[in-house]
Symmetry: none
Subunit: 199 residues, 4 copies
DNA sequence: GATGAATGAGGGTTCATTCAT
DNA sequence: GATGAATGAACCCTCATTCAT
């Protein structure tokens, strides 16, 4: 693997674990079996490296999403697949959530100038809108549901649970990461979203 | 106001804005019109101060919640009030969300040993459970909804939207904080949750 | 016990353990079950407190020494008693050695202006000189031994061994504080000093 | 001279003068014409630097000692040379004594894990043991003298006098560092040790 | 592409001491 | 005699970044 790519991987781990401020350039370098100077050679600064990591992460989830092939499915089935995929993705990629939290802590400073990101997302909205329309026409879904709002609901149901798992486990005095708890949450989310869409 | 309290207030602001690693003890002191040394006098370390801030924040939201007087209301009305309150609280207290994100970034390290927090939350679960039962008996709500799962859904719907407002605004190319967007989200959440609970 | 005395005792322990720079006023106060402010009330500063501790320690060893009643004994017996006493005193009062080391590290800065100390020691020299003279006259001791030099030899034989016990144990790979090692050293010193004085 | 070496030299001076707690990293850096950061670059911490200084100092005295070439000399002559060398070394290297005092104040914490030190010293003990044996065989020295005990006596005679010169000068009201006092002490020590070894 | 050495600013924390009561 | 609150300076250490090769 190229030094550049190794740095990117190491940075993802580091940023995910410690946040932007907490991340250490030194640790990224040594984790990548590279030299600190190389980080500045390939990326210009810690912050630019952070943006690169963020873009790569977004690209990854969107790319996985595309392979769900939602366009040609029964509307209820399509929504269900998206719900389950989203939950599973966050579950398997907790680093993606901490990355987003970091970026939002910084008020989206790095993302602001990235046009790549915007472009990456319009297909998602389009797809979702099409599904909702088909569902409405077939009398399966209630009218007036906004695709962006729906997507945020789908993501939020999993995100909040998983991103805040430590504090939630503490305040509710349950292990939210126990296998049964996880499968319970997955079922709960599917019910919630699909029920909520019913006419 | 006491120096101790001034430090606590200043720390809330600072931690909310910059996270735990990004927060500067120096800034907290000067914002509190106090001396850096006093922070270590009243709290033992930056981390202990963080925990104190976190506990105070949790106490605040739970206290506000209690004044909703949910116990004696119609089940649907009670849920609606809780949904609206939760949304409104996050909207008005974005610092609470960044605090939680910080704590979870650190895997709940500070919260782990706080028994205050656990105790603070059992009434909430009790109240919600009672509401759900009454709703089920009156044939308003479907059976088998877990109060903790429901609470996480209610909170998650608002939290994800507001906490990630910068990245979401960017990727969906809309200003999520515009007044109309906000009221739209409030309505969306109410519909989602109440519909989802239908039999 | 008076607060003043409790502070003095606590300070002795603290200075002995950590040296002058390493000692903490805070710890002295809490060890004395007193208030930090009281230290400044009774003694004027950390350094003045250090001098007070030093003077008290010197007073203690000289007072114990006086009770040896060396004046009226056989010269060899008198020297032997002094040798054994000195060894035993250092053994039982390691704090006295660290105190002296601290003071000498600071080039005797605190002791310089204390006339109490000088006065305290002239009787010791007088006594030793008398013993040496009697020994010489009786043909037991060689001539020309200076009492101050002799005292420094007697003290040095024990001091170096005990004060440097940690480094010496390490470099010679033996536990110098094991009971047998200690009694061996006591015997060695007696032999050395008495043999050295022979005509 | 390399930055590393300059730091080491500066640190020796600083630690010798102020002890471990009293030493200031800042002063070491500026005395070495280096940057504070470099101290942590080459050595990991103030304490590790202290150990490095200590090891270098021990290496220095042992190396000088080896050039005395004691193995092939008349036993009395060999002891005399060692006595005089040891006195002279302490006289010229007061910093070595303060270093040892510091380390022992800290209960040998730094030295404990250094195997270099132990290895450095076994030749010394071997040499001394051989000299004593030859002296015994030739009827010059009394039997049963332990080489380690003897070495500690030789060192202790000079060490106590020089290390505690400030307090001793004060309590005995003499300038122990005056040239005549110094040469007097040198003679006294030689007499003491050689007399003490006689059969 | 890669590296070891260097840097200045500032990080959290602790110090001896004093103020006000 | 005694106390809790306050202070400013300075502590050790670490940061992201750059220089020279």
């Amino acid at each position: 693997m190229s030094t550049r790519q190794k740095i990117l991987d190491a940075a993802l781990e580091e940023f995910a674990r410690y946040g932007l401020s907490g991340a250490r350039v030194e640790r990224i370098a040594s984790r990548a079996n590279a030299n600190k100077r190389m980080i500045y050679y390939y990326f210009r600064s810690k912050e630019d490296l952070f943006l690169a990591v963020l873009e790569a992460s977004y690209a990854d989830i969107r790319s996985a999403e595309r392979s769900l092939d939602l366009e040609h499915r029964d509307p209820r089935e399509a929504v269900k697949r998206l719900v389950e995929f989203t939950w599973q993705y966050y579950l398997e990629h907790p680093e993606f959530m901490t990355l987003l939290n970091s970026e939002n802590l910084h008020k989206g400073r790095h993302v602001r100038n990235s046009s790549r990101l915007r472009e990456m997302h319009s297909p998602l909205v389009g797809t979702l809108r099409a599904i909702l329309r088909r569902g409405e026409k077939q009398g399966l879904f209630r009218r007036g549901v906004d695709p962006v709002q729906l997507y945020i609901s789908i993501a939020g149901e999993g995100y909040f649970y998983l991103s805040n798992r430590y504090t939630l486990s503490r305040i509710f005095d349950r292990d939210l990461m126990a296998p049964r708890a996880l499968s319970g949450r997955a079922r709960h989310i599917s019910h919630m979203i699909l029920n909520a869409l019913r006419t």
